[in-house]
């Protein structure tokens, strides 16, 4: 289907199903229950899952295929965001121009950065991209304050021109981001028993673009161009000896992944119209590397899973505070309760980085292929079970004989 082979088609359909039904899947607990703390099915976080999913898919096209580790990818996300907000300030609150321009501007910026950085490979390339990203951050944070809003971030105001829209609504507030009139904040809610499911317009716009991005990524992975990129990863020198110049391929991959980052940035401001300089900081670039490795670099679905995992930790685990722990362990006797809370407390709330770090270490040490490898191992376990059961029934008499 759609030019995909059978295996990819089923993968794509699974991803489609997951994104469409995410509001149900992410809200497994009834609203009133103690476990509602772990529900992730609210618009902001669902949008973030998809947006960072796009970002990580794009990063994976560069890192997973060519092996070039860019440490400055957040810069493209940031540039895309700024371009998006400027479109909303100058043109209209419709998100379409914002998203398109973000992709184009991020693409152009990545062309410039890639053209310079790709003169080197390996660690030198990583350092060059890191330097570019930090330069962009520093510029955005202070020197370019008139364009970027500096520390405060670039935001909309009542006095923006918005030539194709209105500067302010009749009620005197800033108009909301919309897709041809459909407001991104708009949500429909479905209450079933104790459960409440939210279907957000912005989320479904992100979903459509994420699926498109995912589809394009599959096509790139399976194309002759993707093959060339894999060749760059396995042995660039050998590639050169056979008379192929790897540079155009790597540059194309770099620009494509920069455009993915731009798309993510554009979507981010479409959902929440503010662009802060911190999203270009090197830790943000590091985060996408973590997402990709955690999920499984070089796999199609891995980066999306990794992005979801990290964003879940950041938004859900960081909000568990001491009071909540006390209500959880309230059934224990007093002294024991305090002890258990004291044991768990460093790992939740402000300690969520610690939990994330431990998870990352465990994954890298025991599942070098990331979450995807974990999934494959579990799948293999289930697939082998019948065979093993058969083996055991055959082997059983001999072992009892040995006793």
């Amino acid at each position: 289907m759609l030019g995909l082979n059978k295996k990819d088609t089923s993968l794509f359909l699974i991803v489609v199903a997951l994104t469409v039904f995410a509001p149900f899947i992410l809200n497994p607990f009834p609203v009133g229950s103690d476990l509602a703390q772990f529900n992730a099915g609210y618009p902001d976080l669902m949008q973030r899952f998809l947006i960072f999913g796009i970002f990580a898919i794009g990063f994976n096209i560069l890192f997973g295929l060519t092996g070039y580790l860019s440490f400055g990818h957040a810069a493209f996300l940031g540039v895309g965001s700024y371009a998006g907000v400027w479109m909303m300030k100058l043109l209209t609150m419709n998100v379409v121009p914002a998203i398109l321009v973000s992709v184009v501007v991020a693409g152009l910026f990545s062309l410039l950065v890639g053209w310079i950085s790709l003169r080197r490979s390996g660690i030198y390339f990583s350092i060059l991209t890191l330097a570019f990203a930090q330069m962009s951050f520093a510029l955005a944070y202070s020197v370019l304050t008139p364009i970027t809003g500096g520390e405060t971030g670039l935001q909309l105001s009542l006095s923006d021109p918005r030539v194709f829209g209105v500067s302010a609504t009749p009620q005197g507030s800033i108009p909301l981001t919309n897709f041809f009139g459909l407001e991104m904040r708009d949500s429909a809610e479905l209450a079933l028993g104790g459960w409440l499911f939210t279907f957000n317009a912005g989320y479904y716009l992100c979903a459509v673009l994420m699926l498109a991005a995912f589809y394009v990524a599959i096509r790139i992975f399976r194309s002759p161009f993707g093959m060339m990129l894999k060749a760059v990863k396995s042995n660039q020198q050998r590639m050169q000896y056979t008379g192929l110049n790897p540079k155009p391929y790597t540059l194309a991959a770099f620009v494509i992944s920069g455009m993915y980052a731009g798309l993510a940035g554009g979507l981010m401001v479409s959902m929440d119209p503010l662009a802060g300089a911190e999203r270009m900081f090197w830790t943000a670039s590091g985060e996408v590397v973590l997402m990709t490795i955690l999920g499984g670099a070089g796999t199609l679905i891995g980066p999306v899973l990794g992005a979801g995992f990290i964003k879940y930790m950041e938004n859900i685990v960081s909000k568990i505070n001491e009071g909540i722990l006390h209500t959880w362990f309230g059934f224990l006797p007093d002294g024991l309760e305090d002890f258990v809370v004291a044991v768990f407390y460093p790992f939740v709330g402000k300690g969520w980085h610690l939990t994330l770090g431990i998870m990352f270490m465990l994954v890298v040490i025991f599942l070098p292929g990331g979450i995807v490898e974990g999934g494959q191992r579990i799948a293999r376990l289930f697939r082998r079970r019948p065979a093993r059961a058969h083996e055991r029934s055959v082997g059983a008499p001999s072992s009892s004989a040995a006793e």
């Binding site: 902001d44 302010a168 809610e189 929440d272 911190e278 960081s318 969520w352 980085h353």
Partner: protein, 453 residues
């Protein structure tokens, strides 16, 4: 190519689908509330969004302690703190409008993006009807804009830049903390008496919004009394060593150094300045002096002995009532209940957070509704007393509180680790009040309040 054929089975199927589609609006219900997150149960949820990690984590955690204390007092637990001294008696200790106060907390990480994500999850997931907190201006401005858009009230925490109630002010946002302009206006007369009118000042300014507005405020206030500005130099926010910025000061004609730095930055730059011998230096026949516009106990702790005798300004200090008497009533009540619960005196970040939570609850009680527009109306132009700062006005034009500003200096012989700053003078409200259209605050509009939904 497929041909479109209509048969009986297909027709029935598509009719069923269309029918289901038309029935959808009956299954999906929009929230039919009058405003965002209208509390319908027996509790009301407030969102405390503070930095728990990052450079201002100390301030954030202290704020969180104060918020928890405020919730206790609102729910009628503990000794009631400032509720006993507060001039408005609408709050009776049975929650807000009879609903028990619950809260959720989040980590802003001192980043606008993370702060907005955290605030959005409080609004969308936990149903928070008010967001408060924040220990830096960038974050405050970002979250304020979000709250305006989402239709909830934002009670700003520790944010000192003019922009929060200046060019970035919003109808749903309110600030109790003082601002850069007030620091300048409060410090200038004290500096005039201490150092005279004939001084050459050199500025090292943190290179971001707060730095710009504070430098401008101090410069304009001191130039008005006759000081001369020799040079203003921007320093990167991430800098940890300021030696290369201090050296040129020695070669200049300056006899006063103004360090527009906050937190760790200020601790480092001040240490460097002292190492270069600036405090023993004589220039133009006068003793060389250092000024730090915005002070906090936590910074004084970090700077240690270097801070002794250096002037700065504060929003509030825990010794205020003891030193200056009844005008600042409420201070001791708050310090007592905070101290009993946590074992040490509160910082000014904690104070402003506590007061903001109480002010919000009181406004809801007086308005008789959680509707943001009603609450905003109750807060606008509200005059109150007994919350530790003396008589205070929440000005309707820009949602900024006007009250006395405390001018402090590093204490020469501190008695213990909490007694690091000494109150020099309190500049009365009239001297720090400005017109709403003052050039330092120009360029923004409040807009109209947004109840969401």
């Amino acid at each position: 190519m497929n041909k479109l054929t209509i048969n009986r089975r297909g027709l029935i199927k598509s009719t069923a689908v269309v029918g289901a589609g038309l029935a959808m609006p009956h299954i999906f219900t929009r929230r039919a509330n009058a405003f965002t997150n209208e509390p319908t149960g027996s509790t009301v949820t407030l969102g405390f969004n503070v930095p728990q990690t990052g450079p201002y984590a100390d301030e954030g955690l202290d704020q969180l302690r104060a918020y928890q204390l405020a919730v206790e007092h609102l729910n009628g637990e503990g000794d009631g703190g400032m509720l006993n001294t507060f001039s408005s008696k609408a709050l009776s200790g049975n929650g807000i409008l009879g609903k028990k106060v619950a809260y959720v907390t989040g980590d802003t990480q001192t980043k606008s993006d993370a702060a907005r994500a955290s605030a959005r999850s409080m609004i969308e997931k936990d149903g928070a009807v008010m967001i408060t907190g924040g220990s830096s201006s960038g974050v405050a401005v970002a979250v304020q804009a979000l709250c305006q858009e989402a239709g909830v009230i934002f009670m700003a925490g520790l944010t000192h830049a003019n922009d929060t109630t200046g060019k970035d002010k919003k109808a749903n946002g309110f600030r109790h903390f003082f601002n850069s302009y007030m620091s300048g206006a409060a410090l200038a007369p004290v500096l005039e008496t201490a150092y005279g009118t004939d001084r050459n000042a050199y500025y090292l300014t943190a290179d971001y919004n707060w730095g710009y507005t504070t430098e401008q405020a101090i410069r304009e206030a001191t130039e008005a009394m006759g000081w001369n500005t020799v040079e203003t130099v921007l320093t990167p926010l991430a800098a940890t060593d300021f030696s290369s910025y201090i050296a040129p000061v020695l070669n200049s004609d300056a006899d006063v150094l103004v360090l527009v730095h906050y937190g760790g930055n200020m601790v480092n730059s001040l240490t460097n300045a002292v190492q270069f011998g600036l405090r023993e230096r004589q220039k133009n026949g006068k003793q060389f002096e250092i000024v730090v516009p915005l002070y906090s106990e936590l910074m004084a702790k970090g700077a240690g002995a270097n801070i002794k005798g250096i002037f700065g300004s504060q929003n509030w200090d825990w010794k205020l009532e003891n030193m200056l008497g009844d005008r600042y009533v409420g201070t001791n009540a708050f310090v007592r209940s905070f101290g009993e619960k946590y074992g040490f005196p509160p910082s000014q970040a904690a104070h402003t957070g506590y007061v903001q939570a109480i002010l919000y609850a009181d406004a809801v009680e007086r308005a008789g509704s959680f509707n943001p527009c009603a609450v905003a109306e109750a807060l606008e132009g509200f005059e109150f007393d007994g919350l530790g700062n003396g008589p205070t006005l929440y000005r309707a034009d820009d949602h900024q509180c006007f009250k006395d500003v405390v001018v402090v200096k590093g204490k020469e012989n501190p008695e213990d680790e909490f007694d690091l700053v000494e109150i020099v003078e309190v500049t009365p409200t009239e001297q720090v009040t400005y017109a709403p259209d003052h050039p330092q605050f120009a360029g923004g509009e409040l807009g109209s309040c947004n109840p969401g939904a």
